[in-house]
Symmetry: none
Subunit: 76 residues, 2 copies
DNA sequence: TGGGATTTGTTCGTATGTATC
DNA sequence: TGATACATACGAACAAATCCC
């Protein structure tokens, strides 16, 4: 899936859905690390602010946990 | 004081007055940090845009100074 | 012990678009 | 029309935690 700035769906929600799909499909299994914020910024050509908003959604859903200085991981 | 959207006084002016009172009463002394934008957003249930407009008024009055990446402080 | 690199956490700066009054 | 208010999105700076050499 490609992030589309022109879509009515905000970029941060689109990214959250991409990552959600990776988790629910099993491409990212329990305990697996998500890509770092900086790599998501580069890969998708979006800002860190937007990446973090996407992560906020996943955290709120209990799909991932984040540890400062370490990274974000798929919830077991 | 509670922020009242229905009031004839704009929300950003109401918030500025709340913070002005905190400063002039001494609850926020010289050099003291004001609450961050994000905490004011959450505490009052208003947008960052509105918080920043309030801060603009206080800065224009010389009551506070703001430093990027740090915060906003009561002017000494 | 120390220092550098990586990563997340928090803060303010700026711009644009939308909606409402 | 203009002022107000919210949401989105990009930057920039600094702090804190972790890891590794």
């Amino acid at each position: 899936m490609v992030i589309n700035h022109a879509s009515a769906v905000p970029v941060y929600r689109q990214l959250a859905q991409v990552l959600r799909d990776d988790i629910e499909s099993g491409r990212l299994g329990p305990g697996a690390p998500l890509p770092s914020e900086s790599s998501l910024v580069q890969e998708h050509g979006i800002s860190r602010d937007t990446v973090r908003k996407a992560m906020d959604l996943l955290r709120a859903d209990g799909l991932v946990i984040t540890v400062q200085g370490k990274g974000t991981y798929v919830q077991n």
